[in-house]
């Protein structure tokens, strides 16, 4: 596939690995990949095999599935059991455990929860089922929010009155801010998310360098992209710079996608606060539908239980999501908490740090086991 295969060449990877090893020198470099897509790519392609021991990758909170609090899953399931409701959502959410089971469990108890590939497909379900109430349980960062926004605009234009959205859209900036503000944070730099940046632009991260003195390189998702971005980060470190740069120029514009931002702005507004799994309440970190589009807001159509569900006592997703623990350092990793029976969200999504590590990365256990354990805060 074009724009894919050429970025998987082992020859070039070896060249980049040598460059990385040289730039890394004797120091230790703790780099967070914010985006779950990067976590997935790193394990799927075996990128750690090309990194020296002193370049440590820490997995960040950029997996929209992983940060959805269990209470929101319960809210969606409550909606699904209202009379006449078809709940639609992405495949990613189907297995995520809420306080009372997952969407798949709800289906086995008689709910009608369907997977869709696009929010536009959810709208299609609404058109085809005029006597049902069709709700789209939306997740995602600013990458996915424009798709939801455009779908709401389409529904409004067509006057479809049996379609609504349960928005769980979250914002990447406040999440990075929360990581930077966390006590004991000792990160040396960030791999910046790629696809969310097509919408918000690489410029959106300037505060990371300006206010916190950390370098950030927006990176593509193919393995050579990731290796090159790591090399660029290390070069900045070596030269004592902290800047925001863009490795993924073929896709990410510096200023983002105006039409997409307009669509979000027309239909959605920031919530004063939103709960993130692992990170807790973060102010102005999520999007709700605007008053003008109340007719399409599931939160206004249905009464949500809105119960906060405490994480499983043994679950350390919070520590994993903030980079304080490696997946294998969690007490329940791979024993009580597995992809078949996840108790924490990091084990559910294949982007989740724990699932990615469990599925793809266990060969690395030997080398990770030699790394100094990260002290718990």
């Amino acid at each position: 596939m074009r724009f894919v295969d050429e970025y998987r060449s082992p020859d070039i990877a070896r060249g980049l690995a040598a460059e990385i090893a040289e730039l890394a020198g004797d120091g230790h470099h703790k780099i967070m990949e914010i985006c779950g897509g990067h976590t997935h790519a790193i394990y799927r392609h075996g990128i750690p095999d090309y990194l020296p021991d002193n370049v440590e990758l820490v997995h960040g909170p950029g997996c929209p599935v992983c940060v959805v609090p269990a209470g929101r899953i319960d809210d969606a399931i409550a909606i699904a059991f209202e009379p006449g409701v078809i709940l639609t959502t992405f495949g990613d959410l189907m297995r995520v455990p809420g306080g009372q089971g997952s969407f798949l469990d709800a289906n086995s108890r008689g709910a009608d929860i369907r997977m869709v590939y696009s929010p536009l497909d959810a709208l299609k379900v609404a058109r085809r089922n005029p006597d049902r109430r069709v709700v789209f349980a939306a997740i995602g960062f600013e990458t996915t929010a424009p798709a939801t926004a455009a779908t709401v605009l389409r529904a409004a234009a067509e006057g479809i009155d049996n379609f609504s959205v349960l928005s769980n859209h979250v914002l990447v900036g406040p999440a990075i801010q929360a990581i930077l503000d966390a006590p004991g944070q000792d990160l040396d730099g960030f791999l910046g998310p790629g696809h969310v940046s097509t919408v918000i632009g690489a410029s959106a991260y300037e505060f990371v360098a300006r206010d916190h003195g950390k370098p950030l390189v927006v990176s593509g998702f193919e393995p050579l992209d990731v290796l090159q971005a790591i090399a660029w980060l290390l070069r900045q470190r070596q030269e004592g710079r902290a800047e925001v740069t863009n490795q993924y120029t073929r896709v990410v514009p510096w200023e983002g996608n105006r039409a997409a931002l307009r669509a979000i702005d027309a239909t959605m507004e920031p919530r004063a606060t939103f709960e993130w799994r692992g990170l807790g309440e973060i102010p102005w970190s999520a999007l709700a539908l605007r008053e003008e589009y109340a007719a399409f807001d599931a939160e206004r159509h249905f009464t949500l239980p809105g119960r906060r569900v405490a994480d499983h006592r043994a679950c350390q997703c919070a520590e994993v999501l903030t980079g304080r623990l490696k997946p294998w350092q969690c007490a329940v990793f791979g024993t009580v908490c597995t992809p078949e029976n996840p108790i924490g969200t990091c084990m559910v999504s294949s982007e989740g740090a724990c699932a990615a590590y469990y599925h793809y990365g266990r060969l690395q256990l030997g080398r990770d086991a030699h790394a100094a354990p990260v002290p718990s805060p």
């Binding site: 074009r2 060449s9 070039i12 897509g37 995602g140 990458t143 097509t198 073929r250 896709v251």
Partner: protein
């Protein structure tokens, strides 16, 4: 955090609402290009490459930038390929 796949626009179905067909490795799907349209009827055309996420084209792939990135990457790989070639040819007596 979000799966985005490069696809080639092979047909514009409805320029007004921004509906097109994209091809990903021989798999075709209708995608919305409305988020790349500054005005109705604008946006990418046939044979343009776009990044697709949940049925929407989110960005047009800049082929020049792609070529530039790849040129820089290849320059890094070249010494290793030469070394490998030398290694391979040194086996022949």
């Amino acid at each position: 955090m979000c799966l985005g796949i490069p696809g080639r626009i092979v047909a514009i179905e409805d320029p007004e609402i921004g509906l097109a067909t994209a091809d990903v490795g021989g798999v075709r799907r209708k995608v919305s290009i409305q988020l790349l349209q500054e005005e109705p009827g604008g946006g990418p055309g046939i044979d343009d490459w776009v990044l697709i996420h949940v049925g929407f084209a989110l960005a047009q792939i800049d082929e020049q930038e792609a070529a530039e990135t790849f040129r820089r990457l290849e320059a890094i790989g070249d010494p290793y390929r030469e070394e490998l070639d030398e290694l391979a040819s040194s086996d022949i007596e």
